[in-house]
Symmetry: C2
Subunit: 534 residues, 2 copies
């Protein structure tokens, strides 16, 4: 099987003409992760100029390429890794989801310790190291699929396992060879901002990247510096795994600018839930230093109370940096002179055009939100414009989510935001205002059924925000399980020119029990000319 590509021979490993299966790709990628030779999938018999070269084959580069190719254009992706898909399946979204699922299952097991069929969980400890290992052993199949799909189904051209050096706005160099295109599309992502304090180089200090690539011991006590989504998500996993975790944050969790549209009651439900599960959350504090044990291993984090300046030491063997990411734009700034913003983000317009003619930028490289939809749709937007369609993409508002041990999802305005803009705001929520969480096991559906019958206060929280005069839905919010997928479509419905009204919601066909109960709850009020809270 492996001969397939070795047979291509010579310095250039070229699989352009070989139909390669997912299975074969897995082995090829595993092989090339240890090598420095590029993998070529380039139609050298095609003499047309490239419409675009995508520098970086992550979500944006791959989706942009797919769209450009589907439009009849010619494209080339270059990526430093031997696979397409970028950091998501390699280091970011996919391990995050794996760990968040582990957190959810571990949490369930702890609440039901010794009850029903669940074992005693008093001494339950999941190995973080083993979970990292499980992910690393398995991630190759997603890599393989990206390469396979991109080549066999999307007809893309690419060169992998080699960095691209940008020469000018039409030219890149790859392994000593120059490639030219009418346009460049830059999409090489971002990297964690490590706080500027002593000790971040100690053993035991990780961000989400090095956690995957370098973790080499079983953490026993964790301190997370920063209050980002990553902090909440990974912290919830560490805690659920049985590694006591403290989050150290300057601002209240989920009160950062990037997590807009979150009401205080929802925030409180989530943060209280984290505390209820044993996490320590220290807000209004900043890190001062990470100190070592003399052998190069982290052993404590010194923090300072931002109000009174007092300092405190948090003992730990594991420090996780969750202070956010910064676009990696230096190379492009130096070579092309692209304009960048305060945080290093390449500035683009709604066509994804940078300040340099024929150079587009997409994905995390243009700053927040560092979310998948923006990367992929940015790639698509660049492709459409390159192919002559003056298409604009506005990513200022979007559905958003994070995991604690729950899925937390929201789109549109919070109740508070809505009340600042409109006089007649009505909310439809569960539990209803004034009804304690422990009095009513709602919302509930798949994922919260067991809780509903043993711990009704753990089944979640949900809210829909309605403008009472137009009867339009302004926002949806949910803590629980199984509603995230739907928020994609709720976002779309709210964006329609006429939006979506409580009456239209009430006319839909629900699938009962549905994790968010918006359709049926809307129906219970839809009959009324004068809307009231529910």
């Amino acid at each position: 099987m492996r001969r397939l590509w070795l047979m291509q021979g010579g310095m250039l490993v070229d699989i352009t003409l070989t139909k390669t299966t997912n299975f074969q790709w897995r082995h090829l990628i595993a092989d090339y992760e240890k090598k420095s030779e590029p993998i070529y999938n380039v139609r050298r018999d095609d003499k047309r100029k490239y419409d675009a070269i995508f520098v970086g084959g992550g979500a944006g580069g791959r989706f942009g390429s797919g769209y450009l190719r589907a439009r009849g254009g010619r494209q080339l992706i270059v990526d430093r890794w031997p696979f397409l898909g970028g950091s998501c399946p390699h280091l970011a979204c996919v391990p995050h989801h794996l760990f968040s699922e582990a957190a959810r299952e571990l949490d369930l097991m702890r609440w039901f310790s010794g009850k029903l069929w669940f074992p005693d969980a008093t001494h339950l400890r999941a190995s973080i190291l083993q979970m990292v290992q499980l992910f690393k052993e398995g991630r190759g199949s997603a890599h393989a699929f990206m390469n396979w799909q991109s080549k066999e189904q999307l007809d893309l051209e690419y060169i992998l396992n080699v960095p691209a050096t940008v020469i000018d706005n039409h030219t890149i160099e790859v392994a000593g060879e120059r490639f030219q295109a009418d346009n460049l599309v830059l999409g090489t992502g971002a990297e964690t901002v490590f706080p500027n304090i002593p000790g971040t180089d100690l053993h035991g200090v990780y961000d989400f990247v090095s956690l995957i690539e370098e973790l080499d011991f079983e953490p026993q006590r964790c301190v997370i510096i920063g209050g980002s989504k990553v902090a909440i998500e990974y912290g919830s996993f560490f805690q659920a795994a049985g590694c006591p975790t403290t989050i150290v944050a300057r601002k209240p969790l989920m009160r950062t600018a990037s997590l807009h549209h979150v009401d205080e009651d929802l925030r409180q439900y989530v943060v209280d839930g984290m505390c209820k599960r044993g996490m320590q959350i220290l807000e209004g504090v900043e890190p001062v230093a990470i100190k070592g044990d003399g052998n190069g291993n982290a052993k404590e984090v010194i923090i300072r109370n931002m109000q009174d300046g007092s300092e405190e030491s948090l003992a730990c063997d594991f420090v996780f940096i969750g202070t956010g990411e910064r676009p990696k734009s230096e190379h492009y700034r130096e070579v092309l002179g692209v304009a960048v913003g305060e945080k290093g983000e390449i500035l683009v317009d709604k066509h994804m055009r940078t300040s340099v003619p024929n150079v587009y930028a997409i994905g995390d490289l243009i700053g927040p939100p560092m979310e998948m939809f923006k990367a992929r749709k940015g790639g698509m937007t660049a492709a459409r414009n390159i192919m002559g369609e003056p298409y604009e993409f506005d990513w200022t508002d979007y559905p958003d989510f994070l995991h604690s041990t729950y899925e937390i999802t929201w789109v549109g305005l919070s109740e508070e935001e809505a009340k600042q803009r409109y006089d007649n705001v009505v909310v439809i929520q569960m539990p209803p205002k004034g009804v304690p969480h422990e009095d009513i096991p709602l919302p509930c559906a798949e994922g919260t059924m067991l809780y509903a019958f043993m711990y009704p206060e753990l089944t979640g929280f949900q809210k829909a925000v309605v403008e009472g005069n137009s009867r339009r839905l302004l926002g949806f919010h949910h803590v629980g399980f199984g509603a995230k997928d739907a928020f994609q479509y709720l976002d779309y419905l709210m964006r329609q020119p006429e939006g979506i009204t409580i009456d239209e919601m009430g006319n839909m066909n629900e699938l009962f029990l549905n994790p968010e109960h918006f359709i049926q709850l809307c129906r219970l009020r839809a009959g009324s000319p004068n809307l009231r809270d529910l």
Copy 2:
């Protein structure tokens, strides 16, 4: 606390003027489950005639009442149980969801037996009896909420814990008192059809109702007669709990008329998955008799092969009837002379009007689909028409789902159905056609992440069906977790006059990882003028 309602005194327990909390309702209902006195919540000071009396306070009666009340009408619900909400939170959807969640968690524990943090599951046995007990102890809080919400939030009037006798099309009698209304809305549901074979009265033979109300031993070996949704759902739970289960069905599972729109490949994935988990599925066989052990307990089911007539005995101590339900229409046929169909269903038009003037019927009483959306929207439809709005409800097509250990959801046409109607049908599916399930851990998201990294063949299956010329989506299909909620909105989008196109899908904002990958997969093809499978 309990004095609150006892203080109302006399024969008539009247809580009309008492604001009663969820907590108080729980105790009141528990108390009245043992009594035969009615609970009155009737505004006797209001001298207006009722616009409608809803006979049956299940989903349809409650939602119809809510709508009618919101429209300014006056209504009365009468229900034989001391709570509103009907069979769903008492016997049907809610226990089904609880058991299906148990099945999912037990199944996960079995696959991961002795791996990661999971205990050895070799001898894992969950108690079915205990789960039934858990449900029964907890269901009161949903009951309480229904009563509370209906009274305090929806301003409904109702009489509970007493059956209504219909006198004529304007009159009912309740505990010796007559109530009159302009209209009657009948919604008293359906009941299991027991097969006409000897032995269904033996101890150990249950349907989903008597399972909840009467199970009194721990089943060790189960035979399910019938291949309905209920058979698949409860059977998957029994098997996952550790009670080996055989399903005995005339037709292939999921090939019944009520489960239309299911492609053979999806069906096969689901049924194979059930077999892979140890269930025995016997198709093309019919039950002949249930035989007892001489002490009145079921000990075997005799079945006959429908092709060759050969008989076989299946030893068991637990027989579960999953042959479907039949509307309970006798009383209405006798008293009112309403026209009924072949299977006892009350015949209604799209306004929910029966053959008798001023009499409407809703819910399971009018036959399949016996689903929540139809009950609730039927109630709403009756209410709108009663209040003078000539509103029509068409329930011939709808999103649908069932549970095995997975959530299986579908809406619109199957690939096969689409190909019968259109020349240019394109499918977008995961895994793609020709790629074995074990080669690619997709689809995956919350609920399948652990499987993705250990058992990629278990992560599910999905398919979108597209009409290639109009580019409209014709159907969506999903096996996995967390996509069910979204199908409500996919159904709505497909129903729009212009439908929803692959291009519009590709323009949406996904929340990655999303359980169904429809948005991003549509985007990968949306750029192309000539659509191809993906």
